[in-house]
Every structure is written in C-alpha cells, then in structure tokens.
C-alpha cells in the first residue's frame, strides 16, 4: 500500500557505500571509459575530416541546411534539460525521494550540455570563426548578428551551463569535505581545494541552504529559456511547418520528455554499476515513471494538437509538412508513434512495470529513440517542401559517426566524473534519512515525514 522505506543504514555505511565509486577502481570502469573514449575519438577524427572537406561531408544540401548537427544539438539540449529540472523542481516541491537522484541528474545535465554545446560549433562550417557566435562588445556593428539563432543558442547554452555547474558544484561542497577526510595523497589535496574549507558549521549550512534556495528558483527560468530559444530557432522563421507559436512550449515539453527518459537510463546504469540498490529504490523508478507519464501526455497533447489544427484547417501553408510526414518520412513518424507513444503509454500505466528497473531502462531508451526521431521530423520535412523528398537527404557515414561520437563524449564525461564525485549526494541522503520514519499505531505501521521548511 505504501512505498517501501529504505533499510536503516548507519552514517558510516552510507559514507562507505557512496564513496566506493571514488575509492575503488575496477577494470570494468577502465573498460567502459575506454569504450566511450574510443567512440568519441572516432567522432573527433571524423569532425577533423569534416573541417577539411566542408559541411557537404554531412550530405547537407539546399534547401536542407540543418540536418544531423542541429538534430543532435536539439536532442542533447533536451537531454540536458531534465537533469536540473528534476533536481530543482523536486527541491522546490519538497519531494523527499529526490535525495538519491539529484546528484546523478545534475551530472547528467552538465555532461549532456557540454555535448550539446559542441554542435553549434560543428554546424557553423567555418569552425575557426566560432567566436562570432558570442555576444562580445559590438560598437562597430561588425560581426554578432543579434537576429541570428546561432547567437541565441550560444548565449542560452553558456548561461545554462554556467548556472548548472554552479548548482551542481554548490551541492558537492559538503561531500567534497567528506572525501577530504576519507582520501589520501593527491586526492586529499584535490578535495581540500574543492571543498573550499568546508567545516560543516551551522552558519555554513544556513548559507548553503540560502544559496540553494536562490539557485533553485533562478535555474527554472534558465532551463525554460534554453529550450524556448531552441524552439524559436525554428518558430521565428517564416518557413511553413516551423513558423508556429507553439514551438517554444512544445520544445520545452519535448526536452523534458527525452530528458526524463535519459534520467531513467542513468539511474539504471548507476544503480547497477556502483551497486547502489539500497539507495536507488524501485520507488524512485516508480516516481520518475509517473513524472515521465505526465510529461508524455503533455508532449502528446502539444504534438497532436499542433498536427491536428494544421490538418483540420487545410491551409496549404500549414499542411505541407504533414504531407511529408505521412509520405517520405513515414518510417520516422512510425518510430515516434511506436516508441514515443505506444511503448511508454502501455508500460508506464502499470505500477509493477514502473517499479521494475530494467523495464524502466527500456522505457528510457524507447523515449529517446522516439525523441531523436521527432527531432528529425522537426528539422528536415519543413524546409524540404515541394523541392526535395526523403531521397535527397540521407544521413551518411560522417553524420552517423559524429552522432555516435556525441554519445561517446557523453559517456566518457559521465564515466570520468563518476570517479571524482559521489554519484548519490551523501549529505542529502543522510538528511532524508532523518526526515522519514514509521509511526506505530495499534498493530499497524504508517510512514510519516517531517515537513520541510519552505524555500526562502
């Protein structure tokens, strides 16, 4: 009837379990790092090939200027969105179960955003002029074009990355102090520097709490702004199929959808890799599953609502992109319908499925396949109207290699970071341990929680 409570753990055991990924290094960790590193290395080599041969190496051609690099950019920006969202919104709502998940989701954001940030650089063609995207002082009106989506993207990503790193690092400080006490040699020196002299006094905790209160509230508009701007990259143009006022909220919602799917994948991998079965419980999968289910409904609402109103009005300028969706891109559309709607809807509705980690891993993968396909249908059909069909844009080995390289980079960064930080927040977990308990009434027991103070 009620969610299961974690088995009571001693503080020493929590410290040992949650720092094990840092203090012990097995061959498997090296193997995984090597695998991801190799894939990333291959992607980097192919990028060098692209620099030498130009953007045509991707198979992009008129009128499809934006293909795999932008699809990848939108996709990874979306994956990055949910990490901090889960952490910030759950903090704001005082969801007690968040404590085991915040660190791994925030780390997900930092890594995925670093990957997303690479793609505007790849996409600009003349990569050595990347600084034109930045909003540097422009008194003589030389380079930065404030109407350019590239400038918007660079600004949005850099703001979100900076904020997310501050958010992530602030939460790490008390844990770095724990690591300082439990490590030797160069690691001890490293953590001594990173923990900024944390001693755990009452004043320090209060300040950390205030800082978190501010960051939690501030980061929400920042993550909404990131994907709003990504949506506006398309919505502000007058290309039929892109020129839609729903694009910004639709993109935010789509990003949350793919991001929550990615959170499920990360949860499963971290749980299995670091043997954290006592910390990442089925109830966490259950709760994220419920969040994902709600978001999937909202995403479907926007997706179907947009398509439906365009279809119903029969306005030629609106209906073109639907024509392509149902013809040249029907297999991509089928992927969206099966993996983005059928699979999640049929699985997430059942509590038993939501509480089975490996099934939730499948749901996470399914959602991300669907969302990658959805990015394809957003980016490609609209500009290919009346001129080109599916045959005119087929991803080639360069595009596929760079896409694989992005997965490699993400995996490489995440695996590397997991060697230096506790992947489940130690202090938050222990704080939560004090806030939940069982109340015995007569012959029964019921879970009770301490109500948290309001943020601010």
């Amino acid at each position: 009837m009620y969610d299961e409570l974690p088995v009571p753990l001693t503080a020493a055991q929590v410290n040992t379990d949650l720092t094990r990924n840092i203090t012990q290094t097995g061959w498997l960790w090296w193997a995984i790092l090597g695998l991801f590193g190799s894939v990333f290395g291959w992607g980097a080599l192919v990028f060098a090939y692209q620099i030498y041969n130009g953007m045509g190496a991707y198979g992009n051609n008129r009128p499809i200027y934006w293909a795999l690099p932008i699809i990848n950019f939108v996709f990874w920006a979306g994956v990055a969105l949910s990490g901090t969202m889960i952490s910030a919104i759950l903090r704001l709502l005082h969801a007690g179960w968040r404590r085991s998940l915040t660190r791994m989701t925030e780390t997900l954001t930092v890594c995925a955003l670093a990957v997303a940030g690479v793609f505007p650089l790849l996409h600009i063609g003349r990569n050595w002029t990347f600084f034109w995207m930045l909003a540097y002082p422009n008194e003589r009106q030389l380079w930065p074009n404030y109407k350019s989506p590239l400038l918007w993207d660079a600004t949005a990503i850099s703001v979100y990355l900076t904020t997310s790193v501050i958010f992530w690092y602030s939460g790490l400080i008390p844990d770095f102090a724990i690591l300082r006490e439990r490590t030797q040699g160069w690691r001890r020196t490293l953590y001594t520097v990173l923990c900024l002299g944390w001693r755990g006094t009452d004043r320090e905790w209060r300040r950390l709490k205030v800082l978190f209160g501010i960051l939690t509230v501030m980061i929400i508009p920042v993550f909404v702004s990131l994907h709003t701007i990504v949506g506006w990259d398309f919505g502000m143009s007058i290309v039929p199929g892109w020129h839609s006022n729903i694009f910004a909220p639709y993109f935010v919602c789509g990003a949350l959808y793919s991001g929550c799917g990615a959170v499920l994948i990360i949860m499963y991998c971290v749980r299995r890799s670091f043997h954290l079965e006592q910390y990442i419980l089925p109830k966490h999968f259950d709760n994220i599953g419920k969040v994902l289910f709600s978001i999937s409904l909202l995403w479907f609402y926007f997706f179907a609502g947009d398509a439906w109103s365009d279809w119903f009005s029969r306005d030629p300028s609106h209906i073109n992109w639907l024509y392509f969706m149902f013809h040249g891109y029907k297999w991509v559309l089928a992927l969206i319908l099966v993996f983005g709607i059928l699979v999640p809807f049929s699985m997430l509705a059942f509590g038993k499925v939501r509480r089975t980690p490996w099934l939730m891993l499948l749901v996470g993968i399914s959602v991300n396949i669907a969302m990658f396909s959805e990015r394809v249908t957003v980016v490609i059909p609209a500009p290919s109207r009346n001129i080109l069909t599916w045959g005119n844009y087929t991803p080639n080995w360069v595009g596929i290699s760079v896409t694989a390289g992005a997965i490699g980079l993400f995996g490489f960064l995440y695996t590397l970071l997991s060697k230096f930080i506790p992947i489940v927040s130690i202090w938050e977990f222990r704080e939560g341990d004090h806030a939940e308990g069982l109340e015995r009434v007569g012959g029964g027991e019921m879970p009770v929680v301490i109500r948290e103070e309001a943020i601010g």
Binding site: M1, Y2, V224, T228, W232, G235, M236, S237, I238, H243, S244, N245, I246, F247, A248, P249, Y301, F302, G305, D306, W308, S309, D310, F312, S313, R314, D315, H318, G351, E436, G437, L438, E439, R440, V441, M446, P447, V448, V449, I450, R451
Partner: protein, 464 residues
Amino acid sequence: MFDNDNILTSPRSIALSVDASSPLQLVLDEPQQSRLTKLRLMTLICVGLVLAAGVAIYGYAYFGHHRNDPSFWHISLVSLLFWIGLSQGMVALSALLRITHASWRYPLNRLLDIGSLFGLWGPLLLPVLVITRRQIYALGSSDYRDNVWRLSGPIFWDALTIGTAFLAGWMLLYLTSLPDFAILRDRAGEGSKEKKFYTRLAWFWRGSEHQWRVLRRAEGVLVVGILTTFVGSQTVLGWDFQLAAARNWDSSIFAPLYTLSSLLGALALAVLLMTIANRILRGRGFFNSEHYNNLGRFMVAIGLVWFYFRFCDYLTAWYGHLPEEWLIQQSRTSTFPVLVLLMIIGCFGAPVFGNMIPAIRKQPWASCTISLLVLVGLAAQRYLDTVPTFAPRYGTQALLPTLPAIVVFFGIAAMFILTYLLAIRYIPIISWWGIGKSQTRIAQRKMGNTIVTVMVEDPPLWET
C-alpha cells in the same frame, strides 16, 4: 521515531467536534439578522439580473431585429465561455490539489467542487446563444447552421466535452459530500424535513471501512477523470477557434492557453470564495495565511506560464511579420489598447508581481484585489481572443458592447453567484470529514529544542 499521542483519533469524532454547522444556520443563529438580510438581498439581485438577461436574449436578440448584431452575440458568448471555463477550472484545481496530496487542501475542496453546479444551468444558455449567430463561422464556413450538431462541427464536441467534465464534477461533489450528508442526517431531529431530505441524500452511507475505501477509490478515479475532461473541454473550446481557417484563430497555442487561463481564473475565484467563506464562518479559522500563501504562489507560477504562452504567440507574429498575421495582432493593441492593458495587468502583472511578495499575498484584502484584477484580465483576454478577428470585417463600432449585451454579461455572472447562494443552503461548504481527516494527519513534534511539523504520508489515490 515519533510519539503516538494525537495521531489517528477517529476522523468522525473530530468531524463531529468541529464547530461548523451549515453556514446558513450560523447566520440564522446570530442575534443580528444583518447578514441574512444581505444574503437575501444578494439572492434577489442575482435572480433579477438572470431574469433581465433572459429577457435580453429573447426579447432583444432572438425575437427582435438584432439577430445578426455581432456586438450582442460576441459579448454574450465570451462571458458564458468565461464562466464555464472558470467553473471547470475550479473543479480541476480541486482535483489537482487532491492528486498532489496538498495537505492544506481540505477546507478548500468543497468550495471549489461546488463550482461545478454552475454546469447544471449555465451551459444550457449555450445553444440559445449560438443558435442564430452567424458571425463566428462566417470567416471559415459558408453557413453556420450547417455546422450545428454535425459530428465535425464544434457544437457537438463542445456539448460532449463540457457535459462530461461537468458530470465528473457533479459526481465528485456528491460522493465526497456523502459523509457530510450522513452527519446532517444524524443531527436532524426525528421526523423533520431535514431528516427526510438528508436521509435521501446520504443514501446508503453508514461510514463503514469498506465504504470509506470505496469512496477513496472513486475519488481517485474521478480526480483523474476530472483533470482529463477539464483539459479536454478547454482544448475543444480552444479548438472552436483554432480549427477555423481565420488568421489569429488558427493558432496552435489557443488550446493550452485556454486551459491555463481557466486554471488562473479558478485560483482567483478560490481566493475570493475563501475570503467570503471565512467571513460567513467567522472565527472558525478554516482558512488562514497558509491558504493565501499557497494559492498566491500557485498564481505566480500559472501567471508566469500564461505570460510565456502569450508572449510566444505575440513574438512569433512580430518576428515573422507575415502581413495577414501581424495585422490581426496589431489590431488588438491599436483598436483595444485599454483591454490589452487590462489583460496584461490582470493575467500577468497582478498575479505575478503582486503575489511575489509574501507580505502581500498573505493579506486577504490584497489577495482579493489581485484576484479581482485577474478576473478582469481574463475577461479582457476572452474578448481580445475572439473579437479582433472580426474587426476588419465589421469595423470597431459594430463590435462595441450594447446595453443588452452588458445586461447578459452581468446576468451570467449573477448565475454563477446564485449557484453558490443556493448551494450553501443545502451543502456544507467546508467538508467536515475533510477537516477531521486533516486534523488527524498533522502534528507538531518536539525534537531537541526545535518544534517540527510531522505529517502522515498520503498513499497515492489509486492505491487504497
């Protein structure tokens, strides 16, 4: 971990000890009859306005020479849709608080649920209002009457979704009132009219554990149903416009914007109703600063999302600058600047910036002022979403409200108020068993030298 005292006293015993008789009884018991007089006067005014609106519809527009007068039909229709949206939003807000286990929801739920009773008579006006109206679909279809009641026509879907949403709301209101009707039945004198009446209303309720379980499960199902039908009905109302091939209406943002607006209006009405209820149930302290605080924060969130959607709508048109699209957006601001200002202040400025300051949102008078501004802003928004699309066709003068249209506008508002005035005669506006339940779930505990609030964790609605 915690002591056992005070936890799990019988909800029924607490419910019975709550000093809240039916609100009308409280008024009747008072030495001064002033409040009763006020209530009667208000009822009379509302009845008068409703009758005047009826006369306006039939006399002026239906049988008169104004069958095609756009200023009449638009205002009437806009105001009716406005109140339908708000009443459904209230029930959805109640469902939302239930599904998120908001621990402060208990005194508020019934007040919000009663809003669904507007659906018993308000939407009946809809066919009357639209039956001779040609203007709305003049831009998209050859003859409006061809659209009425056909499967792909908007009226069929309006009736279906609005009807289903109200039906779910009534079911929730009735089922969650059963334990309170049973208390009233038990309290009524033997052989009295009240006894007979509440015996019928309480139906089979005895308060057995099995019945409580069934009630909770039904509540869970209905809550999900209400949220679904609420989004469905507001979406269909948005689609009435969105699916027409008329510029500005063919916007994919209409459906979610309608849903959001209804929720924002529901929050504003919740604050107003809460304040009035607190005055009627003087000194009982059912609603305190926590309620104002939480509703205010909720309003900040919804106000921000509202602005986000509205801004996306405007910016897309501005940046694209497609002539036909931009013309409509411009005609909004240039032809109706006051209404645009009211909309922005009411839907964004007041709820967001007003409620951002805790000292303001916790003050009932300040919170009520903000809520009134929200309602004005939302009414302006409904008008601006509907009417400017016609401006190029009819000219501004033809669209300005006439006196009968204003009478109908206030008449429909009076219908809503009258719904509450009649409902509180028979239904306890605060759920007794809800209050009892809330009192069993929260307690203060001393830990060291600190007092912390401890509460029983709610199981999910569907796992009872």
